[in-house]
C-alpha cells in the first residue's frame, strides 16, 4: 500500500471551498455539519500503517533585481524560500539588519559580516520603511 498525494483531492476541496465561500455574510440557522467528533481509531481498529511518500512544492521565486539581489539569492534561499522575506511588513534598515544577524548567529547562515550592510540596504529598498 502506497499513499500518494492526489491532485484529485485538491480539486474536490477547491469546489467545496467555492461553495462555502458563496456564504460570506451572516446566515441564519444553527450550526453545524462538522460538529460531531469523528470516528476514532482504537486498539480494535488500529491505524493501518503504510509507507507515506509525498512531494513538496518547490519555490522558483527569486529576489527582485537590483544591487544586493545576488547576495539575497545566494544566501537567503539556502534555508528558506524568498516569500518569507517578501511577505514581511516593511522594515527599517536596522530591523532588517537584526533579522540578518539572527540568521547568522542563531541559524548559522554563511553570509560574511562584510555583506550584512549591503544586504540590509537591499532589503530595506525592496521592502522597507
Amino acid at each position: 500500500m502506497r499513499r500518494k498525494s492526489r491532485r484529485g483531492g485538491s480539486v474536490l476541496a477547491a469546489s467545496a471551498i467555492a461553495a462555502l465561500l458563496a456564504v460570506s455574510a451572516a446566515t441564519g440557522g444553527s450550526p453545524t455539519a462538522g460538529d460531531s467528533p469523528p470516528a476514532k481509531l482504537t486498539k480494535e481498529a488500529p491505524p493501518k500503517w503504510a509507507i507515506l511518500s509525498v512531494e513538496l512544492p518547490v519555490s522558483n521565486e527569486i529576489f527582485p533585481s537590483g544591487p544586493g539581489a545576488d547576495v539575497a539569492d545566494s544566501q537567503c534561499l539556502i534555508c528558506h524560500s524568498a516569500g518569507m522575506v517578501l511577505r514581511q511588513p516593511p522594515l527599517t534598515k536596522d530591523q532588517w539588519r537584526s533579522e540578518i544577524q539572527k540568521m547568522r548567529s542563531a541559524y548559522g547562515a554563511l553570509l560574511p559580516a562584510e555583506q550584512v550592510d549591503a544586504l540590509s540596504e537591499y532589503l530595506q529598498r525592496i521592502n522597507g520603511r
Binding site: T27, W49, C79
Partner: protein, 413 residues
C-alpha cells in the same frame, strides 16, 4: 514604494503561473475571495496579499505564507464548518527545510532514553498495541498566530488568525510511555525532537522540552491519529506530541526522539527562541527596558466570528444568527460574551456541545441590526480560570500570544 509593490505582484504572478498552469489570472488580482476562481487573498494588513496554494500534499486550498519550509494558513471560512478542523485544511508550520518526504512505518522507531532505568525503542505497532489508546479534542495554535495584526508590526510569519486548528487526537499517554522506560529520580526535563533538520550543519536541531512533572501529567500524549485518520505528513506523520493547552511550538511533529534530562535544557529553541515577556498576556510597550523573558507556555482564551466579517450588510430589524468558535486556552470556556454596540453592553452567547476543556467550542447569538450604517460587534471569551480576553491588544517583539477581543463592523441596511 509603488514600484516595489509592483515588482512583488510580478513575482507572485510568475510563481503563481508556474504553480497552477495559468488558470484564473483574473482571480489572482481580485481583491478578496471571490468564489471558484479565488487564487489569492488579501489579509487585512500591509503587504497582506497571499496566494492560495493547492499543490501541497494531502492539503486542500491553503493560504501560502512560505513554500520552504512550509507555512500554510487555514482560510478562516473553514472554521465556520464546525469545531473540528479538517485534516486537509489544518495549518502547517515547519522550522527547518530538511523534512523527510517518505516515512516507512516498518523502520520508524520512537526512542526514549537518557536519564531512565531502561532505554526503549518502540515500533508504531508496539505503540498502538502495547498501550491503552487515549483521545482528546484539543486546539493546536501557533505561538505567533495573528502576528500580522501586531501594531507596530514585528518580523516573523505574517499570519492572520488561521494558524490554529482543533482536532480529535488519538494516541497514547506520554506518561505511560515514559514509565515504560522508567524516569530516574532526579530527572528534571523531557526533551522532544522530530525528524526535521536544518540545511546547514550549524542550524540548531528543533527540540523542545517540558518539565518531568508536566510530561507525566497524564494529559500530554503522543498522537498517531488526527480526526480519526493518520496525520498528514505536513502535520507530523506518523507521531506528534500533543500538549493540551500549550502553544503549538511544543507539539513536536514526526516525533521520534525523547530524551530525559537531569538538568534544564539549554538548547537554542528553549533559551533563545519562543521567549515571551514574563508579564500578563506577554504584554509590554515597544522598547520597554529590562524585561524578564521566559519560554512561551500556556495559551490564553480567544474567540472569533466565523460567519460574519467586516463589511457585511445585514437587514435592519431582521434577526440574524451570528456565530463563531471560542477556546479557553489552558482551561475550559466558561462563557462567551457578545456585544452589538462596540462593547457598551455584553450578553452571554449560547454555547454549542462541549467536546472537552481544550477544544474549540461553538457559540452563537441572535443579532437584530438596529439602524442604517455601521454597527460594531464584539466577542469575548472567559475561561474557567476566570481569565478574560483583554480589550486592548498585547504587544511583544516576538509577535506572540495575541488574544485581544475580536470585533467586526457590519452595515445595517
Amino acid at each position: 514604494m509603488q514600484r516595489f509593490r509592483f515588482m512583488r505582484a510580478q513575482l507572485s504572478r510568475r510563481q503563481f503561473l508556474k504553480g497552477v498552469g495559468g488558470a484564473g489570472l483574473a482571480g489572482m488580482f481580485g481583491s478578496t475571495w471571490s468564489g471558484a476562481s479565488a487564487s489569492a487573498v488579501d489579509l487585512p494588513f500591509v503587504n497582506g496579499r497571499r496566494e492560495v496554494a493547492t499543490n501541497f500534499p494531502q492539503k486542500g486550498p491553503m493560504i501560502l505564507q512560505r513554500t520552504r519550509p512550509p507555512l500554510l494558513e487555514t482560510p478562516f471560512e473553514v472554521f465556520d464548518q464546525g469545531v473540528f478542523t479538517p485534516n486537509d485544511r489544518f495549518f502547517v508550520r515547519w522550522h527547518l527545510a530538511n523534512i523527510p518526504t517518505i516515512i516507512d512505518p516498518a523502520t520508524f522507531r520512537l526512542k526514549i532514553y537518557g536519564n531512565v532505568r531502561q532505554p526503549v525503542s518502540l515500533t508504531l505497532d508496539e505503540l498502538v498495541r502495547k498501550f491503552e489508546p487515549v483521545e482528546m479534542a484539543a486546539v493546536n495554535q501557533c505561538s505567533g498566530n495573528s502576528r500580522g495584526f501586531f501594531s507596530p508590526r514585528v518580523a516573523g510569519g505574517q499570519w492572520a488568525n488561521g494558524a490554529m486548528g482543533n482536532a480529535l487526537w488519538t494516541g497514547v499517554s506520554l506518561r505511560e510511555v515514559l514509565d515504560r522506560a522508567g524516569v530516574n529520580a532526579g530527572a528534571l526535563q523531557v526533551r522532544f525532537r522530530g525528524l526535521e533538520t536544518g540545511i546547514l550543519p550549524q542550524t540548531p536541531n528543533f527540540m523542545k522540552s517540558l518539565t518531568v512533572e508536566h510530561a507525566r501529567d497524564g494529559e500530554v500524549m503522543i498522537a498517531y491519529a488526527m480526526n480519526g485518520e493518520p496525520l498528514p505528513l505536513l502535520n507530523g506523520y506518523p507521531l506528534r506530541l500533543i500538549v493540551p493547552g500549550w502553544y503549538s511550538t511544543y507539539w513536536i511533529k514526526m516525533l521520534d526522539d525523547i530524551e530525559v534530562l537531569d538538568k534544564p535544557d539549554d538548547n537554542f529553541w528553549m533559551t533563545k527562541a519562543y521567549l515571551i515577556p514574563d508579564t500578563p498576556f506577554a504584554d509590554i510597550t515597544p522598547g520597554q527596558p529590562d524585561v524578564k523573558m521566559v519560554p512561551i507556555n500556556r495559551m490564553v482564551p480567544r474567540s472569533f466570528f466565523t460567519n460574519v466579517q467586516s463589511g457585511a450588510t445585514l437587514k435592519i430589524g431582521k434577526p440574524t444568527t451570528v456565530r463563531g468558535v471560542a477556546f479557553g486556552g489552558d482551561a475550559g470556556v466558561a462563557k462567551v460574551l457578545f456585544s452589538d454596540d462596540a462593547g457598551g453592553h455584553w450578553r452571554e452567547a449560547r454555547l454549542g456541545p462541549d467536546h472537552g476543556k481544550y477544544s474549540f467550542r461553538q457559540w452563537d447569538a441572535t443579532l437584530r441590526p438596529r439602524s442604517p450604517g455601521p454597527q460594531h460587534l464584539m466577542i469575548r471569551a472567559i475561561n474557567t480560570a476566570d481569565v478574560s480576553q483583554p480589550e486592548r491588544a498585547n504587544w511583544n517583539a516576538g509577535g506572540f500570544m495575541r488574544n485581544v477581543v475580536e470585533s467586526v463592523s457590519i452595515q445595517g441596511v
